[in-house]
Point group: C2
Chain length 245, copies 2
Amino acid sequence: MSIQNNKYVINLDVDGGDNAPSSVLNGAELYLKDNQNVRFNLYGRKSIIDFHIKNLPLLLNFSNIIDCEGVIDGNLKPTEAMKKEFRHSSLAKSISSLKNQPLEATVSSGNTGAMMAYSKVFLRTVENISRPAIASLFPSKNHPVCFLDLGANSECDENNLYDFAIMGSIYYQILFPKSTCKVSLLNIGSEELKGNTIIQKTHELLKKSKLINYNGFIEANNITDTENHIIVTDGFTGNIALKTA
Amino acid sequence: MSIQNNKYVINLDVDGGDNAPSSVLNGAELYLKDNQNVRFNLYGRKSIIDFHIKNLPLLLNFSNIIDCEGVIDGNLKPTEAMKKEFRHSSLAKSISSLKNQPLEATVSSGNTGAMMAYSKVFLRTVENISRPAIASLFPSKNHPVCFLDLGANSECDENNLYDFAIMGSIYYQILFPKSTCKVSLLNIGSEELKGNTIIQKTHELLKKSKLINYNGFIEANNITDTENHIIVTDGFTGNIALKTA
């Protein structure tokens, strides 16, 4: 995130997610009540934002409005979202702006598939990383646990999972610099022979890696009670675990 | 289950599971305190059962002991379990006995992989069903929900998942004869396009099926609040969902 006048700059996809735009704008106002270290770029339909923001005095002070056209529906396919007519939506514009402002961040609770598609096409991944992943911090008894992928990739091979282990480790070390970053792989048992072919292949890759502090398999009942810092899984399984929890 | 003198006959794998054999024998005694409609066949090492059963007066009255040799460790691979030296174990003998007593049942909390291997080799599956599955009833707000596969098959194709839908429906209708047996497929979203290739192929098979009352996708956050009666998934995902819950 860039710091302008000691402020972080966050792009908000005002049209994205359930109960948008009011939930997004009210959430930003709520945040500003406790923290004024942020400036928000509000991406959305200006006339609608103008209508709501009248009653949100802090947001009025700490934001810019960037007028957008068209709304990305939650059911829109990622391939559809790439069409010209959606390129001026709040989601598309708030993400593509990061290309020239690489230290800012975009927050959206809108269509996940479209968000991943825009991110991949507009921003591209880091060299040697083929797919982005969705990560979140889970509470655990010992420390927060970075859990990924939570739904960006419903099919993953061992190389994707290996990449997720690296991305998770780097992300965790940025958030908690003193951490040792132990990585574990989500599996249906802790014994060596457990799991499917891709899990077994990933296990071999991680064991050999000198970049990762690999700690073996973890079972889902230990997610909130683990010595590990990063838990790696494919986006299908991760999403099921997240929503079951 | 067969009924001899108005009693169900249950085979217990006394050597299987954590804290065996005492947990298994104490559990049987506990059951008999409230229900005496059962006769247990206790499969295990006779000398050890004899030692424990002295203090379990009901079990002493309502059971037979079948002497077995060797114990199946929790870490033993299914292929290892098939070796001659384990064929006289409590798990192997309690399952193989069902071949000649098809109306009895075996209960084991031991090595799942070995249990599945013995079941498949000794008892075989029903015609046209290639793989057994592990099913359990989950509580939901409306009615119990049959959830399968919970871990027998860590890799499944669309035909296996279709078979699970049929097996689940039949099992549910035996337990709750008046039910309509709505089947849903566990997925990471409820929209048509969601999920991986196998999920999409299974969705097509289930939509076309005249044997199944298919109700579409279900997300993991709705497992305990569903209109459906059967939830189908592969054994990897099912096991992760079960252990996360």
